[in-house]
Symmetry: C2
Subunit: 246 residues, 2 copies
């Protein structure tokens, strides 16, 4: 089984303190991955930014659609995400996960319409050789805009199709998509199922909102799940956890 696992920025960092890793949560996630990785055919990890990257992106006015041509801005945002990536890699290595970095700025780009291109032969090659490629939210070249943000969620959607993933998991700060009584909705098959709780607007909040996640995951050919840190291990072991989107 090949799995794409996203670790949300709110899981691996302390969102309230700039550039601060949530060491305990990151370690728990890395331990769960370390326990499961040998039983998988392949695993790609993607992590968000949380308290890394976002402050710099805000400083330079950069989003997924608004860019910058200031090289200092690129280096600040990209550098912050690489710092977080280094922490993630280190924890994964401590749990014997053969993790190696794949930085989106070095690989991906957007055209004038904002459409993302992410070549994946390098990811597939690393997977085939037994490595666990670790990607992350980043800035990437965007024709007409300089660089713009690419979110971890966008990368997950791209990767799911292109590495022939059997399962996709998004580990977030909440145990799944919640209904109006804060109970986890176990299954979503169409956006209308949850439009009432997530909002019916056609918002394209690709950088983290739950509505955007659900919309993007509904478009995948493969089953996706949204769950919290406690369910990383069970998810990787093949259990159905949190909210399943199919």
């Amino acid at each position: 089984m090949t799995v794409v696992l996203k670790l949300g920025g709110s899981v691996v960092t302390d969102k309230d303190r700039e550039e601060t890793v949530d060491g305990e949560s990151l370690d728990a996630a890395a331990a769960a991955i370390g326990d499961a990785v040998d039983d998988l055919d392949g695993l790609v990890v993607v992590h968000g930014g949380g308290s890394f990257g976002h402050p710099n992106a805000a400083d330079y006015g950069v989003s997924t659609t608004e860019g910058t041509r200031d090289a200092d801005g690129v280096l600040a945002i990209h550098g912050a995400m690489k710092t977080l990536n280094k922490f993630v890699l280190r924890r994964l290595r401590e749990h014997d996960v053969p993790a190696v970095p794949v930085h989106p700025l070095s690989a991906a780009s957007r055209d004038t319409g904002g459409e993302l291109t992410l070549p994946v032969q390098q990811v597939r090659t690393l997977l085939g050789e037994g490595f666990v490629p670790v990607l992350h939210g980043d800035v990437i070249g965007h024709t007409g805009e300089g660089v713009t943000v690419v979110s971890g969620d966008e990368l997950v959607v791209e990767l799911a199709a292109s590495v022939d993933a059997d399962r996709v998991g998004l580990c977030s700060a909440v145990p799944g998509v919640l209904d109006n009584d804060d109970a986890v909705i176990s299954r979503i098959e169409a956006y209308e199922d949850v439009a009432e709780v997530l909002g019916a607007s056609d918002a394209t909040d690709v950088t983290g909102g739950m509505a955007g996640k659900v919309r993007a995951l509904l478009e995948l050919d493969v089953e996706a799940s949204i769950f919290d840190l406690d369910s990383v291990g069970p998810f990787l072991a093949g259990d159905r956890v949190g909210t399943t989107i199919d």
Copy 2:
């Protein structure tokens, strides 16, 4: 004019002292690039490893053909090259070059036959937005081998064709290809011209040797030059310097 410029590892590092930048030479190269960059349509910089990367590669027994599947080895070699890349970027920024990193491990791979694939849409997009992408020798996924080394010279050859470079320059420790009297050979049009001084063997020394450089540059559709640090400025200004290979 679009230019691909390689800064040899022996130019930007002190080859005799492990992981030591040659600050003076690097600064001179960065200053020459800073003076010229605004007059170019596009510039891609590639740097070698010198005293970075090579010691780690030797420790893990990794070359362009012999690989490793040890993630610690990948992180050690790749990490050393990223450290050097950071120094190079910092100096370029000090001279107002809009330099941004493109790490080959994140983008490139080799197939079972060792053939290199380097997608370049990200490089072209960054170029088009006015950035100077800076690549470097690295390790990359290699089907059947784990990861192997990709040399800066290989990257230059790939990039020259794919970014439609008008000129290619290799800044090395010597002022050009030298004849038996140590005089610079001004023009090489076929390998037979220099087989006597470079050796007639079909050696595939892609990681730095002059014979390999000349062979690779002869295969390009575009004119290439080999020169030393003093000629970076004149080369970027359009002068014919060192040895021209066409």
